[in-house]
């Protein structure tokens, strides 16, 4: 009996320290829209921004499968894909989500509410930069 309890104890204690695998977000920011391996054209949403709701921090994306509204949380990373401008990709803000811009959204796993893990915003004009819409 003691042995069984100890085994259970070991399992519980060690499983408590086990972390869920996830992808590495640091190099992800340098991957252009639509080119994320195993994600683009599979589980992500690629399309044009149709509308933005800054109050509720949601963005509606017109994707080939139809328009979808996703939530952005404080955990959501926003990156500016400037590879078409031959410039370094940068960290962006909610203000960089502007109607008509092409985006790629990776959704957090799970059913129900659509929450973005990261959003890449493709910039095509040299004047556009981090938080340009707020200026």
């Amino acid at each position: 009996m003691l042995k069984v309890l100890m085994q259970i104890g070991v399992i519980v204690a060690w499983l408590g320290g086990i972390t869920y695998a996830h992808s590495q977000q640091m190099t992800e920011m340098f991957i252009p829209v639509g080119q994320s391996p195993g994600v683009s054209n599979k589980t992500s949403l690629v399309g044009m921004i149709e509308s933005i709701d800054a109050k509720n921090r949601t963005v509606t994306v017109a994707a080939p499968s139809g328009a979808r509204t996703v939530d952005l949380t404080s955990r959501t990373k926003i990156w500016l894909d400037r590879s078409l401008l031959k410039a370094t990709n940068q960290t962006g803000t909610f203000a960089d989500l502007q109607k008509g811009r092409k985006v790629e959204v990776k959704l957090e796993p799970g059913e129900g509410k659509q929450v973005a893990e990261w959003v890449k915003v493709q910039l095509t004009e040299p004047s556009a930069g981090p938080g340009a819409a707020a200026k």
């Binding site: 100890m6 320290g17 972390t19 590495q24 340098f30 991957i31």
Partner: protein, 465 residues
């Protein structure tokens, strides 16, 4: 420096003429044979990409850091043999990468590579220094129920986090021409086909399955080491390194590969820290990190040091001793282990027990090297005369593996008779690589010597022919 296969003399002109005739005849016949199956093609393509493709970057390839002749890793002794213009040292000769790309001193002294795992916002201060993990036996070590675990902290790949996606992140981090890291300018990203081929090649390397312990070992010390390794109330090694692999089993079935905070970061007097160079703390998995790191397989450990994510310990004995120290026993993993021990002990071993476990790890490493050597030698012996170059390549790899077996056993003062057989096997393979007509005979003799060596390490009933 490892001895490379060098043949002193070429064949005589008359021999060349005769050989040319035979080669042409056999090549004509060979052209009619069935081509290799698609998986082999994919692996071969992956191998070519792994060692030759620079992705329009700074000249590095995957093989720059994961060297075949250094067990798909690198260590300071190997680095010391490289020429100054080797792409590994790109930060020393490319002005665009001079700052904040690598630390050449730490690379040369401790084989440490710079990684921006917590972001690229502050290149001066935000980085970690990590060793190069080997990519052997990935088929047994990458998967977990929580998803794939790649790299030292299990979160090394962008995209979907899989081994297939890993190369994309590696190109961005290590292959870039400048620190701007602009796709299409500083590098090109691997295509889906290239990623598939790279994955296939990496999964083909090394063991394809875990051992089933205990093995019927012959040596008294390694045998005792195996007992301690498997004893969940003494060594406790098998809990996280089930069958000396990279998966955990706490008594209710294998739970796959897992991350743990074992306190390696808290080790005092870490070699890299002693240099005075900036070495920021490595917080492991995620951002901010949770302090956990991935469990590596142990079968390949003895010949792939230095050990742990930061190359903090040079010897396998030192790596085992780490688990007897304060850094481990005060860590979250050590504390959890102690909490489930009837006497409240994490891991407590004495010097002889530490050496015994290390001896066990040395022997299973040598056994794996022998297995690989025999596979390579058999592959070489099967090559036709027209495939002599491929045969020689396989022989070279077998010679390297055998050199590792010798080094690993000698380093622990283990099995001198097996070492003698291995030395003979190495000599025969070297002769075979230089021989025009006796390659197959010499190779078969080398295989026999490998088997003799293996019979010195384990009871012959368990030896696979």
């Amino acid at each position: 420096m490892r001895k490379l296969v060098q043949c002193d003399r070429g064949p005589q002109p008359a021999v060349v003429a005769v050989l040319t005739t035979i080669v042409v005849a056999v090549a004509t016949f060979s052209a009619c044979q069935t081509p290799p199956s698609p998986p082999s093609d994919l692996i071969a393509k992956g191998k070519d990409i792994f060692f030759n493709e620079t992705f329009n970057g700074n000249g590095r390839t995957c093989g720059t850091c994961h060297r075949a002749e250094a067990n798909f890793s690198i260590n300071p002794a190997f680095i010391a043999t490289l020429p100054p213009n080797d792409p590994l040292f790109v930060a020393e000769f490319n002005p665009d990468l001079k700052k904040n790309f690598e630390n050449p001193r730490l690379m040369r002294q401790f084989a440490l590579i710079l990684e921006n795992l917590d972001g690229f916002d502050d290149l001066e201060k935000q980085f970690v220094m990590r060793g190069v993990p080997h990519v052997l036996s990935l088929r047994t070590s990458v998967n977990s129920p929580q998803g794939p675990r790649t790299g030292w902290s299990g979160d090394g790949a962008p995209g979907d986090g899989s081994l297939r996606s890993f190369a994309t992140g590696a190109v961005i981090q290590h292959f870039t021409k400048t620190l701007n890291r602009i796709a299409g300018e500083d590098f090109r990203l691997p295509t889906d086909e290239e990623l598939a081929a790279l994955e296939a090649f990496q999964l083909s390397l090394g063991r394809q399955q875990d051992l089933t312990l205990p093995l019927p070992l012959k040596g008294i010390v390694p045998k005792r080491g195996q007992e301690i390794f498997l004893d969940n109330s003494l060594g406790k090694c098998n809990l996280c390194h089930s069958n000396a692999g990279a998966t955990a089993n706490f008594g209710r079935g294998n739970i796959g590969n897992a991350n743990f905070n074992t306190g390696v970061e808290n080790l005092p007097d870490q070699p890299a820290d002693l240099t005075g160079e900036r070495v920021p703390p490595d917080d492991g998995f995620g951002k901010p990190g949770d302090g956990t790191f991935n469990t590596p397989p142990l079968v390949e450990a003895a010949d792939t040091g230095p050990f742990f994510h930061n190359n903090a310990i040079e010897t396998i004995e030192g790596a085992v001793a780490f688990y007897d120290g304060d850094s481990f026993n005060n860590s979250p993993a050590g504390s959890d282990l102690a909490a489930t021990d009837p006497n409240g002990v994490g891991i407590e071993l004495d010097g002889t027990q530490i050496v015994a476990i290390a001896a066990f790890l040395r022997v299973i490493n040598a056994l794996e090297n022998i297995r690989q050597s025999i596979e390579l030698l058999e592959g070489s012996a099967q090559k036709r005369f027209t495939e002599r170059q491929q045969a020689k390549e396989l022989l070279k790899r077998a010679i390297t593996e055998t050199g590792d077996s010798i080094r690993v056993l000698k380093g622990g003062g283990l099995h001198p008779q097996a070492v003698a057989h291995l030395k003979k096997a190495k000599e025969l393979a070297e002769e075979a690589a230089c021989s025009v007509f006796s390659r197959r005979r010499l190779t078969e003799q080398a295989i026999e010597e490998q088997k003799n060596a293996r019979n010195e390490l384990v009871e012959s009933s368990s030896s696979r022919s």
